[in-house]
């Protein structure tokens, strides 16, 4: 009872990265709270899913496996979580801030009249003082998220209602296996005790999913372009350099809006969060919404002809110049000096 629950998303039999990131975070929060970590997987024909999640330190895994539970639709997954949470009384429930998590979380929180904080980028445990009643709440979940279009960061708490629910952005937390032999209990639930036929009113008629064309999240080197790159043609220079040094190409929102790059390459608060070994920002001024998505890169190089571009403040190296001038030289000198 009163444990920490993580709802795990599954696509093609593979648990989503964001869910594994949450299990990792959930494990450390559970240690701090001295409670157990429990995971929930809902789907169809689930095979060996326990091997994917238990190594993250899951003490108890709840499996719901029945026809019609994959692909995801709102009502069956809601019914399962609502009933499970009523029985198990978790103190915290986490899910990814994904298309599924942002569809499911609010519904579950409404049914349980608990609070939900969307799109968190950080979670901590701490106390909260309600000044009005002079009441101190111990060990609440601090749900930390950007607010107001990313211009401020708010810390939200949920003093009186349980579970404390949050959706968390993909890529902002690290995933880490703690023990490949971790012994957790696996419970296979009787799905018909949780859902009714009426829950299956929405039918998925057609579904086209393609694997992401890029590997921004996993690439150790990212070359990213902003509006300052100037044109789609100039953007090709970024791809040229990427090919030579084996990197992936990203973009700022301004570059995507201008049509220089595809939407799935967008890095920032709306887009992917990355933390590569090397981040080369080309013609990116450095709106906070962009910086929030790449600030944890180990080394940052900014190529910009504006010496006052805000991104320069967080860069390790600033190259004063234009993309057209600098990138061909980088390619040339890389070829000359490598090996």
């Amino acid at each position: 009872m009163n444990n920490l629950f993580v709802y795990c998303e599954i696509e093609d039999g593979i648990i989503a990265d964001v869910s594994l990131e949450l299990l990792t975070k959930g494990r450390s929060l559970a240690n701090e709270l001295k409670c157990q970590l429990e995971a929930v997987i809902i789907g169809t024909s689930l095979k060996e899913v326990e091997k994917q999640v238990l190594p993250y330190g899951v003490d108890k895994l709840h499996i719901f496996d029945a026809p019609g539970l994959y692909p995801y639709t709102s009502l069956p997954h809601t019914s399962i979580l609502v009933k499970l949470f009523k029985e198990e009384q978790p103190q915290i429930a986490l899910m990814g801030a994904t298309v599924i998590g942002r569809d499911l979380g609010p519904r579950v929180s409404s049914a349980l009249t608990s609070g939900l904080t969307a799109d968190c980028t950080s979670l901590e445990i701490g106390d909260y003082e309600e000044k009005k009643d002079n009441k101190i709440y111990k060990n609440l979940l601090y749900q930390i998220r950007p607010a107001f279009g990313g211009n401020i960061v708010a810390t939200i708490v949920n003093p009186d209602h349980r579970p404390q629910m949050a959706t968390v952005r993909e890529g902002v937390m690290k995933k880490q296996i703690i023990n490949t032999e971790y012994k957790g209990k696996v419970v296979r639930h009787e799905v018909k005790d949780f859902v009714t036929d009426a829950d299956f009113v929405v039918k998925v008629i057609e579904r086209h999913v393609e694997k992401s064309k890029n590997n921004l999240k996993g690439s150790p080197i990212i070359i990213s372009g902003g509006y300052g790159v100037g044109s789609k043609d100039n953007f090709k220079l970024l791809f040229d350099l990427a090919k030579v040094i084996n990197a992936e190409v990203g973009a700022s929102r301004a570059a995507v809006d201008a049509g220089y790059a595809d939407h799935d390459r967008q890095i920032g608060q709306t887009g992917v969060t990355v933390r590569p070994k090397l981040y080369i920002a080309c013609g990116i001024s450095g709106q906070i919404q962009h910086i929030a998505g790449m600030q944890e890169s180990a080394i940052i190089i900014s190529i910009n002809n504006d010496p006052n571009a805000p991104i320069n403040a967080i860069a390790d190296y600033v190259i004063n110049g234009t993309v057209e001038q600098v990138i061909p030289k980088m390619i040339k000198y890389y070829k000359q000096n490598s090996k």
């Binding site: 639709t73 049914a111 009249t113 810390t155 039918k203 040094i245 403040a313 600098v326």
Partner: protein, 292 residues
């Protein structure tokens, strides 16, 4: 066979957080709302367009705006009317202030119950001042309806079923659900049509009760003879709301603190775009195995 559908569009007036100037943040790190202009939440316009398309294809259908906010949020209803909506409701009361998404959804659900019959409730996926995407699903849950979120396009609506394409990671999905239903629409869906000049002429004097009391009274007769210019304005009592579930009191989540975003600045090394400098940098990155 064409059917008449009654559609309710959920729309919010929001500060324009996408165009934040230097004076938008106060020294204490809080938002200076006065420095931001109030706009029609962008994705709610995408939702309005989907509603108006259903109305066009199914003559006799009606589109009503529902918004919650201060008195000036009546602008949202007028904007809807200018683009083809048939009427609207403003939910306004001090008791609604400070509402989180749950208390907001409760208030909207109570207003929708008062409106009574409807086939479709449609709104933007999320509002740009909160970016939570929670209100749509929570309204659906409170009304006991199912939902389709992240909609790109309503493909068809017939025989009590609605077919919608929705955006999912790496692709699209077509789903079909029963009416009545709640749908939330993505910003990548079709843009909203512009104002219609005739509608602007027709509705430019549309006012709520409060606005009529505050404004000049030259047009008093107009409102008596042209009922479509009277915009509905509802309080907590009008929608039979439970005060304990409204506003700050009805909000499980509390804001503990708000901070300015401060990034760790680094001591950076600035170099020129000369051959020598760039070669030096590349050699350094190769030497410490950052690249290569």
């Amino acid at each position: 066979m064409n059917m008449n559908y009654k559609i309710i569009v959920l729309a919010k007036q929001v500060p324009d957080t996408r165009n934040v100037g230097k004076d938008a943040m106060k020294a204490d790190g809080t938002v200076n709302r006065a420095a931001l202009s109030a706009i029609f939440n962008p994705e709610d316009l995408n939702a309005l367009e989907q509603a108006l398309r259903i109305k066009e294809k199914n003559p006799g259908s009606t589109v009503y705006m529902l918004t919650m906010g201060p008195g000036r949020a009546a602008d949202i209803i007028r904007e809807g009317l200018f683009r083809g909506a048939d009427g609207g409701y403003l939910l306004t009361d001090r008791a609604f202030a400070g509402a989180d998404t749950l208390a907001t959804s409760y208030a909207l659900a109570m207003a929708i119950r008062k409106i009574g019959h409807f086939d479709l409730i449609i709104g933007g996926r999320q509002a740009i001042d909160g970016d939570t995407a929670q209100v749509g699903p929570q309204v659906a849950e409170k009304l006991g309806l199912t939902q389709i979120t992240y909609a790109e396009e309503i493909k068809s609506i017939e025989n009590g079923r609605i077919t919608v394409t929705r955006h999912i990671p790496g692709g699209v999905e077509t789903v079909e659900g029963p009416l009545p239903i709640v749908v939330t629409v993505n910003g990548s869906a079709a843009s909203c049509r512009p104002r219609n000049a005739k509608m602007v002429m027709k509705y430019k004097h549309a006012r709520t009760v409060t606005e009529k009391q505050q404004g000049n009274l030259d047009y008093t007769d107009l409102y008596a003879t042209h009922d479509y210019l009277n915009l509905e304005e509802w309080s907590v009592a009008d929608v039979k709301g439970d005060l304990a579930q409204c506003g700050l009191a009805g909000s499980p989540t509390k804001v503990k603190s708000i901070q300015n975003i401060v990034f760790q600045t680094k001591e950076s090394k600035t170099i020129s775009d000369s051959n020598k400098d760039i070669e030096g940098l590349i050699v350094e990155l190769l030497a410490n195995h950052t690249i290569g």
